[in-house]
């Protein structure tokens, strides 16, 4: 990604959600608003690269999006009269770009909550959020998540149609009980955006850094809902993970496990920021899953090496986390931490992991983790068999290469 592409991406990210919101408020048509901004983003990607970034990129985008919105409204016969009335400048028309742009940054939140509405299919929530709220184009999303562009486009069209047809309003729930439940959905979508980007960030270069976009969005939410501890928890968690991103892959795109990462590549300033987010979360005295995950990630971030890691702290935190979220993947990760204490604990951890067989036998990391623990216990043949199974289940190239390397180092000796 070049610097100018970075600036372009940052501008689009900053302006897209606000513009969709502003155009929706002005024209009352969510589909038109979203489509108009998408069009403007696509035009910007071409024009700014060709002609250089305009003097006022935000105003450029606003003008383009407004023009697109009016074109869209005019071209749909049913709404033609409305568009002309609005364009002619009658009473309920916002006068110009300045007014449309002068929306409070928090105004992205109602849009975000609508895009993550529980009435939408989970995969549609993610796609729509990336498009409408942070201005990714459909091809960019399709590339980042390795999905078929046409399928993705249909998913987005259906989600938008549902928002319009079912009367999902762009709003943040007022009742605290509703807000808690809905915020959980919103944070889950942002977390998913980050994780998907994290896993897929091998090989092909992208013109946007989706990981950074997800961190940014998590922080927008936290700042806008400053009393929500879990929002700060997610912001901290993603900051930490993103702060380690540079060490996660070799220059040739091979995956490097946490234990083997070159910690000098980690971004200490990201951890500092995450620490501030976590302190903010802790001051709200409302612990939760994401805060605990962030606290665990922080233990790793602060350790000078894998061996120097405060495993006791981590195992304790996993104890709390499993109380909040006893999902098999959390229990799997808790077992990995426990295994670091010595052979006896490794045995216990392996038994814990084996108990998850029913739920995780189809998950490549369950087999890969078993392989690691078996190897720690000197059971190399069992380990190789587990790695072989992990390899069969892995679809991600970087992960495949990692397991293949491991298998080359420790081949099966019994020929099975």
């Amino acid at each position: 990604m070049t610097t100018s592409d970075g600036l372009l991406a940052a501008t689009i990210r900053e302006e897209s959600g606000r513009l969709v919101t502003a155009l929706y408020r002005r024209f009352g048509d969510f589909d038109v608003a979203e489509e108009a901004v998408q069009g403007a983003v696509a035009e910007a990607l071409v024009a700014w690269r060709r002609d250089g970034e305009p003097r006022n990129p935000a105003a450029w985008l606003t003008t383009a999006a407004q023009r697109n919105a009016l074109d869209l409204l005019r071209s749909s016969g049913r709404r033609a009269r409305t568009a002309e009335r609005l364009a002619a400048g009658s009473d309920d028309v916002a006068p110009g770009a300045d007014e449309v742009a002068a929306i409070d940054p928090d105004d992205r939140l109602p849009l975000l909550f609508a895009c993550c509405h529980p009435a939408l299919a989970p995969e549609a929530r993610l796609a729509l959020t990336l498009r409408a709220v942070i201005g990714l184009t459909t091809p960019q999303i399709a590339r980042a998540f390795l999905v078929n562009e046409q399928t993705l486009a249909q998913r987005i069209v259906r989600a938008k149609r549902k928002i319009v047809a079912t009367g999902i309003e762009l709003k943040v729930p007022e009742e605290i009980h509703d807000l808690d439940a809905r915020l959980t959905d919103v944070l889950a979508v942002i977390y998913l955006a980050y994780n998907e980007a994290f896993v897929a960030s091998t090989g092909s270069t992208h013109d946007r850094d989706l990981g950074a976009d997800a961190v940014w969005l998590a922080e927008v939410v936290a700042r806008s809902l400053p009393d929500q501890a879990e929002a700060w928890g997610l912001a901290a968690l993603l900051r930490i993970q993103h702060g380690r991103a540079a060490a996660r892959f070799t220059p040739t795109g091979d995956l490097v496990l946490l234990r083997d990462q070159d910690r000098s590549l980690w971004d200490a300033s990201a951890f500092k920021q995450a620490g501030e987010h976590l302190a903010r979360a802790a001051s709200l005295h409302s612990p939760g899953r994401l805060q605990l995950q962030a606290a665990i990630a922080m233990c790793h971030a602060e350790a000078a090496s894998w061996a120097d890691t405060d495993w006791l702290q981590i195992v304790t935190l996993y104890g709390f986390l499993i109380r909040e979220d006893a999902s098999p993947v959390v229990r799997l990760n808790g077992a990995i931490a426990l295994a670091q204490f010595g052979p006896e604990q490794t045995e216990i951890a392996l038994r814990d992991i084996d108990r998850l067989a029913d739920e995780l036998a189809g998950y490549h990391l369950w087999h890969a983790t078993r392989a690691e623990l078996l190897r720690m216990l000197g059971r190399d043949d069992d380990a190789a068999a587990a790695d072989t199974r992990a390899l069969e289940l892995t679809t991600n190239d970087a992960e495949r290469r990692l397991i293949q390397t491991r298998l080359r180092k420790h081949p099966l000796t019994d020929g099975s």
Partner: protein
């Protein structure tokens, strides 16, 4: 906006509910309609049991039974008029029958804009 709430249940699962519990919920349903009278229009209905259903199929064939073979059946519907989807969801969540297994409320927005035919 107007929405249809379709009250559905799985008769097989409801069979395990005691008569006493069922009566208690009917009382709550009555109260629920009273409380939400302002947004529930008069056009709803409670339907006779599914074994009364008759279906006319493509070609005019008349058959005994419901239109599909799903185990869930529609037991009634209400038309509500509320500001938005969140209000519709909030109302649906208060449906007393939901305390029984296999019960669900489907929310469908009504087509209200016929301007394309004008």
């Amino acid at each position: 906006m107007k929405y249809v709430l379709m009250f559905t249940s799985d008769p097989a699962q409801l069979a395990s509910v005691s008569e006493e519990d069922a009566q208690a919920v009917y009382g709550k349903i009555y109260a629920c309609f009273q409380e939400n009278g302002a947004v529930i229009t008069d056009s709803g209905a409670e339907l006779q049991p599914i074994d009364t259903a008759t279906t006319v199929k493509h070609g005019g064939v008349v058959v005994d039974g419901p239109f599909n073979e799903a185990k869930e059946v529609v037991g009634g519907f209400s038309v509500i008029d509320v500001p938005d989807m969140d209000a519709a969801i909030a109302l649906a969540k208060t449906w007393p029958h939901l305390e029984f297994p296999g019960v669900a409320v489907e929310i469908r927005p009504m087509v209200e804009d016929y301007s394309q035919f004008e």
